[in-house]
């Protein structure tokens, strides 16, 4: 047990260090007193003589005490106090250096943490469902780029298949529909998801209030109930907790709200209300094998099964369906898309790019601090050598330097964390309307933990290495070297230059990345959408259920609406379409080209039914042929207008005009749904971007609204005053029929105009651009600081040399030019290295670019210019000190 006894002794000593110190002194005094007593008296020695003898016999008291304290482990503590003293003195002596180092660490940690927090929030944490990565949207692909959602019967066949059951925890079909929600006097159209009992358990999300839908709710005799989204609850009911049990009117039927889902938990993306699928009005649609629109089929992968294996499990059922229903299923194979991608898009490229950016910024910061500390160590090599010569051990010196860098990192870390918290707050304020669930955006614990480890890592990276280097030189060498004034150890200055070169390379990569993203954003934002969106407002107009049920009645209603809105002051024109551009809804139809074998149902094009003046109202342009004329509208002559994308797809190299095609009626709410319509292509319009500017437009066919009249639709109004006209327009709509429900932009139901919607459609692009730009700006600043440090220390080291040269007649210009020449080499090295790095890292970012080459010359020229300017500034600033140097003082040296 001797080890334990020993440990107990040590701990006791450590715990009461001051008392032990006193006791040691007391013990020695006692010893000396006893010894002195032995020598006093007999030989007639005086007390003071005896004391002297005792002291001599005892030896060097200080030495023995130090030795004893060292053995007892107390010297360690002296060292720490000493380090702290050294440190405060050193910080006071060179506040500029400390500020630069702390700022560098703070920037590195702060910016990295803030960006990672924001990215993590937007890309990962704002996902509302449990284990979202296993949630899959099931679709069908034809192998030629065709894509559709499965019909309800197909989804049901999949669900019941034994093979499918091995791949998934569950499969469920969701039917979408637009319903009229009336609360008090206000009515609006909202998306309704009609779901099966498996739906909510599959999402793995608990309701915020109340309950989700239960199997009993599906019974025919069950009372009508609904679960609503958090956003609808906030918007329509002001977040009132008394919503549970309240009756609301859905399509004029009283329905009880039984639950509210948590923020962001919205699926399908169009849904604001969920109801049992047995309450869906058009049950016949659920039986149609060929009906693929407005639905989602959702599945959750079993643990341990990936997409590829799941597909293998589904092969038998897919083959069976292809045999049983050749017309509908022969060419189509099931496929899976992560729900995550549907909610926030494919974020992998963005995540990878951001991770690389964060790593680069952190690396830059570390290189900077290492460079600064190294320069500092070189500058202090004499001091350290003197301390070594006076007996400080190598470990002692290393420890002092380590302490310095640790304290710098701690300060930088604290400041960086504060910076991150502040940055996140600012972003939340600035981008509040553009980020999902921004109220939950904080620097969270995990990210803080990452920041803390980053701090520690920085300390180790930046501390250990210069410290080890510093102590490798023999004291005598350094002392002799500094006596001759040539302290600037060549190797060290070359090393620092290399560090800055690497920094410039990293900064260049980030700047190029940011530049390319900005260029892409600029080009995407500048894409001609094919119409003039300025001042165009859209209103989704839905007749009350039951009214205007006949196509003729509805068409007459739309006519009256167009007339009424055109009469509103400030309105230029008004038109009607089933689904307006940049709305979220759209529908496709199959196309058959006369004289060609019918391929299969993969011939899908987007289907628009429009009023006669739609082209003029939207300021669209014809690429060939003509638009619908009065005769087309009046007598259903069988005329179609298509877009260029469709013309190119079906009649490449030949003229589409005059070709005969057959499309099918697509309005689900009409009895003639799916009925074929044959006719002639009379015109080709220039492509209109329907969803996003940075996505190539899809093929489209336009049909006169009198040929197929949609049961509801979008009133498109071109105004001179934009949003300010919307109250007058809403009044005009109500004046036509007060029962009409008119709503604004999809999702938000506000009236901001199509121009704003277009701008918002680039939000993901803007988001990645903004974050990478933050990194790039930070990188530029850090590289500048690094360059400044190297040049400033270079000048400080060569004070004597510069003094001598000035005394010998060198002009200021000559000296500055030499400094600039050295800087230029670093910049050139950095640019060469950075271009290589940018080329290698290009793969990461390629997926985020739009209409921009990786080698975009403008971006590179601008980036190199920026870096050059930063380097110039970082050189000229300290260079002024060199020119102000008084040669006589400089040469007198230290």
């Amino acid at each position: 047990m001797s080890v334990i006894d020993g440990l107990r002794h040590r701990v006791r000593v450590w715990l009461d260090r001051d008392a032990y110190d006193r006791e040691m002194d007391e013990e020695v005094r006692h010893h000396l007193a006893l010894d002195a007593a032995q020598h006093v008296g007999p030989d007639g020695r005086s007390a003071s003589e005896a004391e002297l003898i005792a002291r001599r016999r005892f030896g060097n008291r200080t030495f023995h005490k130090e030795e004893r304290r060292r053995v007892a482990g107390l010297a360690m503590f002296d060292g720490a106090a000493l380090d702290a003293r050294h440190l405060t003195r050193w910080l006071r002596r060179s506040p500029g250096f400390a500020a630069l180092a702390i700022l560098t660490i703070a920037l590195g940690i702060g910016v990295t943490t803030a960006v990672v927090s924001i990215a993590d929030h937007v890309l990962v944490r704002s996902l509302p469902f449990g284990d979202t990565d296993r949630l899959m949207m099931m679709v069908e692909l034809d192998g030629h780029g065709g894509f559709r959602t499965p019909s309800a019967p197909t989804a049901e066949d999949w669900r019941q298949d034994a093979g499918t059951a091995q791949a998934f925890d569950g499969v469920t079909y969701v039917r979408g529909d637009g319903v009229t929600l009336r609360v008090g006097d206000e009515a609006e159209t909202v998306g309704d998801g009609f779901v099966s009992p498996e739906f909510f358990p599959l999402l793995k999300t608990r309701p915020l209030l109340g309950r989700t839908l239960l199997p009993d709710d599906q019974r025919a005799d069950a009372p009508l109930v609904a679960v609503i989204t958090h956003r609808l609850w906030q918007r329509r009911f002001g977040g009132d907790r008394a919503i549970l049990g309240r009756s609301i009117s859905i399509d004029s039927i009283p329905t009880t709200v039984v639950g509210v889902m948590p923020p962001g938990a919205v699926y399908p993306p169009f849904a604001d209300v969920w109801q049992p699928i047995t309450k869906f009005k058009h049950q016949d649609i659920l039986l149609r094998r060929g009906f693929h629109a407005d639905s989602r089929t959702l599945a959750r992968l079993r643990a341990g099964v990936d997409s590829a294996r799941a597909m293998a499990f589904m092969q038998p059922v897919a083959r069976r369906l292809a045999q049983d229903y050749p017309a509908d299923q022969a060419k189509w194979m099931p496929a899976l898309f992560p729900v995550r991608n549907e909610i926030i898009g494919n974020i992998r490229p963005m995540l990878l790019t951001l991770a690389a950016g964060a790593a680069a910024v952190l690396l830059l910061a570390c290189a900077n601090v290492a460079g600064l500390l190294l320069a500092r160590v070189t500058a202090r090599s004499r001091e350290l050598a003197v301390r070594g010569a006076l007996g400080a051990s190598r470990g002692r010196v290393v420890r002092q330097l380590l302490t310095e860098s640790l304290i710098l990192s701690a300060l930088g870390g604290v400041l960086g964390t504060a910076l991150a918290a502040f940055g996140v707050k600012v972003v939340a304020k600035l981008m509040g309307d553009r980020l999902p669930r921004v109220e939950e955006l904080v620097v969270d614990q995990r990210v803080l933990l990452v920041a803390a480890s980053v701090t520690l890592l920085t300390a180790l990276l930046c501390g250990v290495w210069p410290a080890l280097r510093a102590t490798r030189h023999r004291s005598s060498e350094v002392l002799r070297a500094s006596a001759s004034g040539a302290v600037g150890l060549r190797r060290d200055s070359r090393l620092r230059r290399m560090l800055v070169t690497v920094q410039f390379a990293l900064a260049l990569m980030l700047l190029v990345g940011a530049g390319l993203l900005m260029q892409s954003f600029r080009r995407a934002a500048a894409v001609d959408v094919g119409f003039d969106p300025r001042g165009v407002l859209t209103f989704r107009v839905a007749p009350p259920s039951g009214a205007y049920a006949q196509p003729g009645e509805a068409a007459a209603l739309y006519d009256r609406l167009m007339v009424a809105t055109r009469a509103v002051p400030g309105v230029v024109d008004a038109a009607f379409i089933n689904h307006a551009p940049f709305g979220r809804a759209a529908i496709t139809t199959s196309v058959e080209v006369e004289g060609r074998p019918m391929l299969d149902s993969s011939n899908q094009v987007f289907y628009r039914t429009v009023s006669g003046n739609y082209l003029d109202t939207m300021h669209m342009a014809l690429a060939g042929g003509r638009w619908f004329d009065d005769a087309d509208l009046r007598s259903q002559t069988g005329s179609f207008v298509i877009n260029q994308a469709m013309a190119k797809l079906y009649w490449p190299g030949t003229n589409a005009i005059g070709q005969r095609i057959t499309v099918r009626r697509a309005s689900q709410a009409r009895a003639d749904f799916g009925k074929p319509m044959s006719g002639t292509v009379v015109g080709v319009v220039r492509d209109v971007h329907q969803q996003r500017q940075d996505v190539v437009p899809d093929p489209e066919v336009y049909v006169p609204y009198t040929t197929e009249t949609w049961p509801w639709g979008m009133l498109v109004v071109r105004t001179r005053d934009g949003v300010r006209s919307s109250p007058a327009l809403l009044r005009a709509i109500k004046a036509v029929d007060p029962r009409l429900v008119a709503t604004g932009d999809p999702g938000t139901a506000s009236f901001t105009g199509i121009e704003d919607t277009i701008a918002k459609s680039l939000a993901p692009r803007r988001f990645s651009m903004t974050l990478i730009s933050a990194f790039a700006a930070c990188a530029l600043l850090l590289a500048g600081i690094g360059m400044y440090g190297v040049v400033a220390y270079g000048i400080a080291q060569r004070t004597r040399e510069i003094g001598v040269r000035k005394a010998l007649g060198a002009t200021d210009g000559l000296i500055v030019r030499q400094l600039l020449r050295e800087t230029a080499w670093v910049v050139v090295g950095g640019v060469v290295l950075g271009c290589g790095g940018a080329w290698a890292a290009g793969r990461l970012i390629r997926g985020l670019l739009f209409d921009t080459q990786l080698t975009d010359p403008g971006t590179f020229v601008l980036t190199i210019g920026l870096l050059g300017a930063a380097a110039l500034g970082a050189t000229l600033l300290p260079a002024r000190r060199a020119t102000r140097l008084d040669p006589t003082i400089a040469m007198r040296g230290e």
């Binding site: 020993g6 002794h9 006791e23 006692h30 010894d35 005892f58 008291r61 030795e67 004893r68 053995v71």
Partner: protein, 111 residues
């Protein structure tokens, strides 16, 4: 009195002497130094001050413990006491030391 430099004491010897001394019973530092001085008069000479780091080392190893007590003269003093493991260690070291001295003696006699 010939003064031998500290280095002439074989490493560990002082610790062994202290342990040996403490077999007499609990002693304070000065008493230990007096005893060692008497035992090795004019042969092993160390600065008395180096006794204390040695005592510290012995305590770290758990071979010696200490506590404050009263000396016969009525002064407060720290008394050191050998532990059971200290006694065991002393036994081992003494025999090892004996073997070494024996070997040295043989070599020297042969020479």
């Amino acid at each position: 009195m010939p003064k031998l430099p500290r280095s002439e004491l074989l490493p560990g010897t002082l610790e062994m002497l202290v342990l040996h001394t403490l077999t007499l019973g609990p002693l304070h530092g000065y008493a230990i130094s007096q005893h060692i001085e008497k035992l090795s008069e004019s042969v092993l000479k160390v600065e008395q001050g180096s006794l204390y780091p040695a005592l510290e080392r012995l305590q770290n190893k758990g071979w010696v413990t200490s506590k404050w007590g009263e000396s016969p003269t009525g002064r407060r003093a720290r008394y050191y006491k050998i532990t059971a493991s200290g006694l065991k260690q002393l036994g081992e070291e003494t025999s090892a030391f004996d073997r070494v001295t024996l070997a040295i003696n043989r070599v020297l006699k042969r020479a």
